[in-house]
Symmetry: C2
Subunit: 205 residues, 2 copies
Amino acid sequence: MPRHKGDHDARRRDVSAAVWRVLVARGFGGLTLRAVATEMGATTGLITHYFPSKKDLLAHALTVLDEHRATRPRRTAPECPAPPEGLPALRAALMETLPLTREAVADSRIWVSSWDAALADPSLTSGHGARYARSRERIRHHVRAAQLRGELPASDPDETAAVVQSFVLGLVVQALFSAEELPAARQIRLLDGFLATLASAAGGP
Amino acid sequence: MPRHKGDHDARRRDVSAAVWRVLVARGFGGLTLRAVATEMGATTGLITHYFPSKKDLLAHALTVLDEHRATRPRRTAPECPAPPEGLPALRAALMETLPLTREAVADSRIWVSSWDAALADPSLTSGHGARYARSRERIRHHVRAAQLRGELPASDPDETAAVVQSFVLGLVVQALFSAEELPAARQIRLLDGFLATLASAAGGP
Protein backbone atom coordinates (compact mmCIF):
# COMPACT_ATOMS: atom_id res chain seq x y z
CA MET A 1 0.00 0.00 0.00
CA PRO A 2 1.50 3.35 -0.96
CA ARG A 3 2.41 5.56 1.98
CA HIS A 4 -0.04 8.23 0.94
CA LYS A 5 -3.01 5.86 1.18
CA GLY A 6 -1.89 4.64 4.61
CA ASP A 7 -1.57 8.21 5.88
CA HIS A 8 -5.01 9.05 4.60
CA ASP A 9 -6.57 5.99 6.22
CA ALA A 10 -4.83 6.69 9.53
CA ARG A 11 -6.01 10.27 9.52
CA ARG A 12 -9.52 9.18 8.66
CA ARG A 13 -9.47 6.84 11.65
CA ASP A 14 -8.24 9.72 13.85
CA VAL A 15 -11.10 11.89 12.66
CA SER A 16 -13.64 9.10 13.20
CA ALA A 17 -12.32 8.50 16.71
CA ALA A 18 -12.62 12.22 17.49
CA VAL A 19 -16.18 12.28 16.13
CA TRP A 20 -17.03 9.34 18.36
CA ARG A 21 -15.59 11.02 21.46
CA VAL A 22 -17.58 14.20 20.75
CA LEU A 23 -20.77 12.11 20.32
CA VAL A 24 -20.20 10.28 23.61
CA ALA A 25 -19.57 13.56 25.46
CA ARG A 26 -22.22 15.78 23.90
CA GLY A 27 -24.57 13.81 21.65
CA PHE A 28 -25.47 14.91 18.14
CA GLY A 29 -26.64 18.28 19.48
CA GLY A 30 -23.04 19.09 20.40
CA LEU A 31 -21.41 17.75 17.22
CA THR A 32 -19.82 20.66 15.36
CA LEU A 33 -16.80 21.00 13.09
CA ARG A 34 -15.19 23.12 15.81
CA ALA A 35 -15.82 20.49 18.52
CA VAL A 36 -14.20 17.77 16.37
CA ALA A 37 -11.24 20.06 15.60
CA THR A 38 -10.73 20.86 19.29
CA GLU A 39 -10.98 17.16 20.16
CA MET A 40 -8.19 16.43 17.63
CA GLY A 41 -6.08 19.46 18.49
CA ALA A 42 -6.46 20.44 14.82
CA THR A 43 -7.78 23.49 13.00
CA THR A 44 -11.38 23.75 11.89
CA GLY A 45 -9.92 24.18 8.38
CA LEU A 46 -8.44 20.69 8.47
CA ILE A 47 -11.77 19.18 9.51
CA THR A 48 -13.50 21.15 6.74
CA HIS A 49 -11.14 19.35 4.32
CA TYR A 50 -12.82 16.07 5.32
CA PHE A 51 -16.32 17.46 5.85
CA PRO A 52 -17.15 20.49 3.70
CA SER A 53 -20.45 20.97 5.55
CA LYS A 54 -22.17 20.19 8.82
CA LYS A 55 -24.36 17.75 6.92
CA ASP A 56 -21.30 15.80 5.71
CA LEU A 57 -20.11 15.62 9.30
CA LEU A 58 -23.51 14.34 10.50
CA ALA A 59 -23.60 11.73 7.73
CA HIS A 60 -20.12 10.54 8.69
CA ALA A 61 -21.09 10.46 12.36
CA LEU A 62 -23.99 8.14 11.52
CA THR A 63 -21.55 5.86 9.68
CA VAL A 64 -19.25 5.89 12.71
CA LEU A 65 -22.24 4.96 14.86
CA ASP A 66 -23.11 2.06 12.52
CA GLU A 67 -19.51 0.82 12.65
CA HIS A 68 -19.36 1.10 16.42
CA ARG A 69 -22.55 -0.88 16.87
CA ALA A 70 -21.39 -3.54 14.39
CA THR A 71 -18.08 -4.05 16.20
CA ARG A 72 -19.42 -3.88 19.77
CA PRO A 73 -18.78 -7.11 21.65
CA ARG A 74 -21.86 -9.33 21.57
CA ARG A 75 -23.52 -10.43 24.78
CA THR A 76 -23.84 -13.95 23.42
CA ALA A 77 -21.33 -16.17 25.21
CA PRO A 78 -18.33 -16.83 22.93
CA GLU A 79 -18.28 -20.51 23.99
CA CYS A 80 -21.80 -20.92 22.63
CA PRO A 81 -21.33 -23.81 20.15
CA ALA A 82 -23.86 -22.65 17.55
CA PRO A 83 -25.68 -19.37 17.03
CA PRO A 84 -29.30 -19.56 18.18
CA GLU A 85 -32.11 -19.79 15.66
CA GLY A 86 -35.77 -18.86 15.65
CA LEU A 87 -37.22 -17.32 18.79
CA PRO A 88 -33.96 -17.52 20.82
CA ALA A 89 -32.18 -15.73 17.95
CA LEU A 90 -34.89 -13.06 17.91
CA ARG A 91 -34.52 -12.61 21.67
CA ALA A 92 -30.72 -12.37 21.37
CA ALA A 93 -30.97 -9.74 18.62
CA LEU A 94 -33.39 -7.63 20.67
CA MET A 95 -31.19 -7.95 23.78
CA GLU A 96 -28.38 -6.37 21.73
CA THR A 97 -30.58 -3.38 20.97
CA LEU A 98 -31.66 -2.68 24.57
CA PRO A 99 -29.57 -0.40 26.82
CA LEU A 100 -28.69 -3.18 29.27
CA THR A 101 -25.04 -2.29 29.88
CA ARG A 102 -23.22 0.97 30.47
CA GLU A 103 -21.78 0.83 26.94
CA ALA A 104 -25.13 0.02 25.37
CA VAL A 105 -26.70 2.95 27.26
CA ALA A 106 -24.07 5.28 25.75
CA ASP A 107 -24.76 3.86 22.27
CA SER A 108 -28.52 4.20 22.66
CA ARG A 109 -28.13 7.71 24.01
CA ILE A 110 -26.22 8.70 20.87
CA TRP A 111 -28.69 7.00 18.52
CA VAL A 112 -31.65 8.76 20.09
CA SER A 113 -29.77 12.07 19.99
CA SER A 114 -29.17 11.54 16.25
CA TRP A 115 -32.90 11.59 15.50
CA ASP A 116 -33.27 15.36 15.76
CA ALA A 117 -30.45 16.01 13.29
CA ALA A 118 -31.64 13.19 11.03
CA LEU A 119 -35.21 14.51 10.92
CA ALA A 120 -33.99 18.00 10.03
CA ASP A 121 -32.51 16.86 6.70
CA PRO A 122 -34.39 14.81 4.07
CA SER A 123 -31.38 12.73 2.96
CA LEU A 124 -30.45 11.91 6.56
CA THR A 125 -34.11 11.10 7.24
CA SER A 126 -34.19 8.59 4.42
CA GLY A 127 -30.85 7.16 5.55
CA HIS A 128 -32.29 6.50 9.00
CA GLY A 129 -35.46 5.15 7.39
CA ALA A 130 -33.31 2.67 5.44
CA ARG A 131 -31.46 1.66 8.64
CA TYR A 132 -34.74 0.83 10.37
CA ALA A 133 -36.03 -0.97 7.29
CA ARG A 134 -32.91 -3.19 7.35
CA SER A 135 -33.43 -3.80 11.04
CA ARG A 136 -37.07 -4.81 10.43
CA GLU A 137 -35.82 -7.17 7.71
CA ARG A 138 -33.42 -8.85 10.18
CA ILE A 139 -36.25 -9.19 12.69
CA ARG A 140 -38.57 -10.54 9.99
CA HIS A 141 -36.00 -13.26 9.20
CA HIS A 142 -36.01 -14.41 12.85
CA VAL A 143 -39.81 -14.17 13.08
CA ARG A 144 -40.20 -16.32 9.98
CA ALA A 145 -37.76 -18.91 11.34
CA ALA A 146 -39.60 -18.95 14.67
CA GLN A 147 -42.89 -19.50 12.85
CA LEU A 148 -41.41 -22.41 10.86
CA ARG A 149 -40.15 -23.93 14.13
CA GLY A 150 -43.63 -23.55 15.64
CA GLU A 151 -42.40 -21.07 18.27
CA LEU A 152 -44.60 -18.22 17.02
CA PRO A 153 -48.10 -18.49 15.53
CA ALA A 154 -48.59 -17.97 11.81
CA SER A 155 -48.96 -14.29 10.88
CA ASP A 156 -47.69 -11.85 8.28
CA PRO A 157 -44.00 -11.71 9.32
CA ASP A 158 -43.66 -8.15 7.98
CA GLU A 159 -46.40 -6.95 10.31
CA THR A 160 -45.00 -8.84 13.27
CA ALA A 161 -41.49 -7.52 12.56
CA ALA A 162 -42.79 -3.92 12.54
CA VAL A 163 -44.56 -4.51 15.86
CA VAL A 164 -41.45 -6.09 17.40
CA GLN A 165 -39.20 -3.27 16.22
CA SER A 166 -41.68 -0.70 17.54
CA PHE A 167 -41.67 -2.39 20.94
CA VAL A 168 -37.90 -2.47 21.24
CA LEU A 169 -37.30 1.10 19.99
CA GLY A 170 -39.91 2.48 22.37
CA LEU A 171 -38.47 0.53 25.27
CA VAL A 172 -35.02 1.99 24.51
CA VAL A 173 -36.44 5.52 24.70
CA GLN A 174 -38.28 4.93 27.97
CA ALA A 175 -35.28 3.20 29.55
CA LEU A 176 -33.07 6.20 28.76
CA PHE A 177 -35.49 8.63 30.40
CA SER A 178 -36.49 6.39 33.34
CA ALA A 179 -33.30 4.52 34.16
CA GLU A 180 -34.42 3.84 37.75
CA GLU A 181 -37.83 2.49 36.78
CA LEU A 182 -36.48 0.47 33.88
CA PRO A 183 -33.18 -1.11 34.93
CA ALA A 184 -31.75 -3.97 32.85
CA ALA A 185 -33.63 -6.67 34.80
CA ARG A 186 -37.01 -5.03 34.16
CA GLN A 187 -36.22 -4.41 30.49
CA ILE A 188 -35.45 -8.12 30.10
CA ARG A 189 -38.64 -9.06 31.97
CA LEU A 190 -40.67 -6.79 29.65
CA LEU A 191 -38.96 -8.29 26.59
CA ASP A 192 -39.68 -11.83 27.74
CA GLY A 193 -43.27 -10.94 28.62
CA PHE A 194 -43.72 -9.39 25.19
CA LEU A 195 -42.26 -12.44 23.42
CA ALA A 196 -44.48 -14.73 25.51
CA THR A 197 -47.49 -12.64 24.45
CA LEU A 198 -46.53 -13.02 20.78
CA ALA A 199 -45.99 -16.75 21.23
CA SER A 200 -49.32 -17.39 22.94
CA ALA A 201 -51.46 -15.13 20.72
CA ALA A 202 -53.92 -16.47 18.21
CA GLY A 203 -51.84 -15.35 15.23
CA GLY A 204 -53.05 -13.20 12.40
CA PRO A 205 -53.71 -13.08 8.69
CA MET B 1 -57.23 42.13 36.76
CA PRO B 2 -54.63 44.92 36.93
CA ARG B 3 -53.36 46.06 33.57
CA HIS B 4 -49.79 45.04 34.37
CA LYS B 5 -50.79 41.41 34.87
CA GLY B 6 -52.71 41.40 31.58
CA ASP B 7 -49.72 42.81 29.71
CA HIS B 8 -47.44 40.22 31.22
CA ASP B 9 -49.78 37.36 30.30
CA ALA B 10 -50.18 38.68 26.75
CA ARG B 11 -46.42 38.96 26.33
CA ARG B 12 -45.94 35.50 27.75
CA ARG B 13 -48.40 34.17 25.17
CA ASP B 14 -46.48 36.00 22.42
CA VAL B 15 -43.24 34.42 23.57
CA SER B 16 -44.83 30.97 23.77
CA ALA B 17 -46.26 31.36 20.26
CA ALA B 18 -42.83 32.35 18.95
CA VAL B 19 -41.22 29.36 20.67
CA TRP B 20 -43.81 27.11 19.04
CA ARG B 21 -43.16 28.55 15.57
CA VAL B 22 -39.41 28.04 15.97
CA LEU B 23 -39.99 24.43 17.09
CA VAL B 24 -42.22 23.73 14.09
CA ALA B 25 -39.69 25.23 11.68
CA ARG B 26 -36.45 23.91 13.15
CA GLY B 27 -37.07 21.41 15.93
CA PHE B 28 -35.34 21.59 19.30
CA GLY B 29 -31.95 21.56 17.58
CA GLY B 30 -32.74 25.01 16.14
CA LEU B 31 -34.27 26.50 19.30
CA THR B 32 -32.05 29.35 20.49
CA LEU B 33 -32.71 32.62 22.32
CA ARG B 34 -31.70 34.43 19.13
CA ALA B 35 -34.12 32.43 16.96
CA VAL B 36 -37.02 33.22 19.32
CA ALA B 37 -36.05 36.92 19.39
CA THR B 38 -35.91 37.05 15.58
CA GLU B 39 -39.26 35.30 15.35
CA MET B 40 -40.78 37.97 17.64
CA GLY B 41 -38.96 40.91 16.08
CA ALA B 42 -37.52 41.54 19.56
CA THR B 43 -34.03 41.80 21.00
CA THR B 44 -32.24 38.81 22.45
CA GLY B 45 -32.06 40.87 25.65
CA LEU B 46 -35.84 40.88 25.98
CA ILE B 47 -36.00 37.10 25.56
CA THR B 48 -33.24 36.73 28.15
CA HIS B 49 -35.55 38.59 30.54
CA TYR B 50 -37.97 35.66 30.26
CA PHE B 51 -35.39 32.91 29.94
CA PRO B 52 -32.07 33.66 31.66
CA SER B 53 -30.51 30.52 30.14
CA LYS B 54 -30.87 28.11 27.25
CA LYS B 55 -32.02 25.52 29.75
CA ASP B 56 -34.89 27.77 30.90
CA LEU B 57 -35.90 28.18 27.27
CA LEU B 58 -35.84 24.40 26.69
CA ALA B 59 -37.89 23.78 29.84
CA HIS B 60 -40.45 26.36 28.68
CA ALA B 61 -40.54 24.83 25.21
CA LEU B 62 -41.41 21.46 26.73
CA THR B 63 -44.26 23.11 28.63
CA VAL B 64 -45.48 24.73 25.40
CA LEU B 65 -45.35 21.29 23.77
CA ASP B 66 -47.39 19.79 26.63
CA GLU B 67 -49.99 22.58 26.33
CA HIS B 68 -50.18 22.22 22.56
CA ARG B 69 -50.75 18.49 22.80
CA ALA B 70 -53.39 18.96 25.53
CA THR B 71 -55.35 21.47 23.46
CA ARG B 72 -55.05 19.70 20.10
CA PRO B 73 -58.45 18.76 18.70
CA ARG B 74 -59.23 15.12 19.50
CA ARG B 75 -59.93 12.68 16.70
CA THR B 76 -62.90 11.29 18.62
CA ALA B 77 -66.10 12.48 16.94
CA PRO B 78 -67.68 15.31 18.99
CA GLU B 79 -71.14 13.80 18.53
CA CYS B 80 -69.94 10.63 20.27
CA PRO B 81 -72.49 10.33 23.13
CA ALA B 82 -70.15 8.89 25.76
CA PRO B 83 -66.37 8.55 25.94
CA PRO B 84 -65.25 5.00 25.22
CA GLU B 85 -64.05 2.74 28.01
CA GLY B 86 -61.75 -0.24 28.27
CA LEU B 87 -60.09 -1.49 25.08
CA PRO B 88 -61.80 1.09 22.79
CA ALA B 89 -60.56 3.85 25.15
CA LEU B 90 -57.05 2.41 25.04
CA ARG B 91 -57.18 2.31 21.24
CA ALA B 92 -58.45 5.91 21.09
CA ALA B 93 -55.64 7.12 23.39
CA LEU B 94 -52.99 5.38 21.29
CA MET B 95 -54.49 6.78 18.08
CA GLU B 96 -53.98 10.28 19.54
CA THR B 97 -50.28 9.51 20.01
CA LEU B 98 -49.58 8.21 16.50
CA PRO B 99 -48.58 10.63 13.71
CA LEU B 100 -51.72 9.99 11.65
CA THR B 101 -52.42 13.55 10.52
CA ARG B 102 -50.24 16.36 9.24
CA GLU B 103 -50.56 18.19 12.56
CA ALA B 104 -49.81 15.07 14.58
CA VAL B 105 -46.71 14.44 12.41
CA ALA B 106 -45.48 17.97 13.25
CA ASP B 107 -46.12 17.38 16.97
CA SER B 108 -44.37 14.00 16.93
CA ARG B 109 -41.47 15.47 15.00
CA ILE B 110 -40.99 18.10 17.72
CA TRP B 111 -41.31 15.58 20.56
CA VAL B 112 -38.69 13.30 19.05
CA SER B 113 -36.41 16.28 18.42
CA SER B 114 -36.75 17.23 22.12
CA TRP B 115 -35.15 13.97 23.25
CA ASP B 116 -31.58 15.02 22.43
CA ALA B 117 -31.85 18.24 24.46
CA ALA B 118 -33.73 16.44 27.25
CA LEU B 119 -31.09 13.70 27.52
CA ALA B 120 -28.29 16.29 27.70
CA ASP B 121 -29.57 17.74 30.99
CA PRO B 122 -30.41 15.68 34.10
CA SER B 123 -33.40 17.80 35.21
CA LEU B 124 -34.89 17.76 31.71
CA THR B 125 -34.24 14.01 31.55
CA SER B 126 -36.21 13.42 34.75
CA GLY B 127 -38.96 15.76 33.50
CA HIS B 128 -39.33 13.63 30.38
CA GLY B 129 -39.14 10.49 32.50
CA ALA B 130 -42.04 11.83 34.59
CA ARG B 131 -44.05 12.61 31.42
CA TYR B 132 -43.67 9.03 30.19
CA ALA B 133 -44.46 7.65 33.64
CA ARG B 134 -47.74 9.64 33.63
CA SER B 135 -48.47 8.34 30.14
CA ARG B 136 -47.88 4.74 31.29
CA GLU B 137 -50.22 5.42 34.20
CA ARG B 138 -52.99 6.55 31.81
CA ILE B 139 -52.43 3.45 29.68
CA ARG B 140 -52.46 1.26 32.81
CA HIS B 141 -55.86 2.69 33.73
CA HIS B 142 -57.29 1.66 30.34
CA VAL B 143 -55.59 -1.75 30.47
CA ARG B 144 -57.06 -2.44 33.90
CA ALA B 145 -60.54 -1.41 32.72
CA ALA B 146 -60.19 -3.62 29.64
CA GLN B 147 -59.19 -6.55 31.87
CA LEU B 148 -62.21 -5.99 34.12
CA ARG B 149 -64.43 -5.93 31.03
CA GLY B 150 -62.87 -9.18 29.86
CA GLU B 151 -61.38 -7.54 26.74
CA LEU B 152 -57.80 -8.26 27.74
CA PRO B 153 -56.49 -11.33 29.60
CA ALA B 154 -55.42 -10.98 33.22
CA SER B 155 -51.83 -9.77 33.60
CA ASP B 156 -49.84 -7.28 35.63
CA PRO B 157 -51.28 -4.04 34.20
CA ASP B 158 -48.03 -2.15 34.92
CA GLU B 159 -46.10 -4.57 32.74
CA THR B 160 -48.69 -4.48 29.97
CA ALA B 161 -48.80 -0.67 30.10
CA ALA B 162 -45.02 -0.48 29.68
CA VAL B 163 -45.19 -2.86 26.69
CA VAL B 164 -48.04 -0.86 25.11
CA GLN B 165 -46.24 2.44 25.58
CA SER B 166 -43.04 0.95 24.13
CA PHE B 167 -44.94 -0.22 21.06
CA VAL B 168 -46.55 3.13 20.38
CA LEU B 169 -43.41 5.24 20.98
CA GLY B 170 -41.35 3.00 18.70
CA LEU B 171 -44.03 3.13 16.01
CA VAL B 172 -43.99 6.94 16.15
CA VAL B 173 -40.23 6.96 15.56
CA GLN B 174 -40.39 4.54 12.63
CA ALA B 175 -43.33 6.36 11.05
CA LEU B 176 -41.38 9.64 11.10
CA PHE B 177 -38.39 8.09 9.37
CA SER B 178 -40.33 5.87 6.95
CA ALA B 179 -43.41 7.93 6.11
CA GLU B 180 -43.94 6.07 2.82
CA GLU B 181 -43.69 2.61 4.34
CA LEU B 182 -45.79 3.54 7.36
CA PRO B 183 -48.66 5.77 6.24
CA ALA B 184 -51.61 6.32 8.58
CA ALA B 185 -53.52 3.28 7.31
CA ARG B 186 -50.61 0.93 8.02
CA GLN B 187 -49.97 2.46 11.46
CA ILE B 188 -53.60 1.82 12.34
CA ARG B 189 -53.39 -1.74 10.99
CA LEU B 190 -50.27 -2.36 13.11
CA LEU B 191 -51.99 -0.89 16.18
CA ASP B 192 -55.06 -3.07 15.69
CA GLY B 193 -52.91 -6.15 15.06
CA PHE B 194 -50.95 -5.42 18.22
CA LEU B 195 -54.11 -4.96 20.30
CA ALA B 196 -55.55 -8.19 18.85
CA THR B 197 -52.33 -9.96 19.87
CA LEU B 198 -52.66 -8.66 23.43
CA ALA B 199 -56.34 -9.65 23.53
CA SER B 200 -55.77 -13.20 22.30
CA ALA B 201 -52.63 -13.93 24.33
CA ALA B 202 -52.62 -16.29 27.28
CA GLY B 203 -52.09 -13.49 29.79
CA GLY B 204 -49.37 -13.34 32.37
CA PRO B 205 -48.60 -13.28 36.06
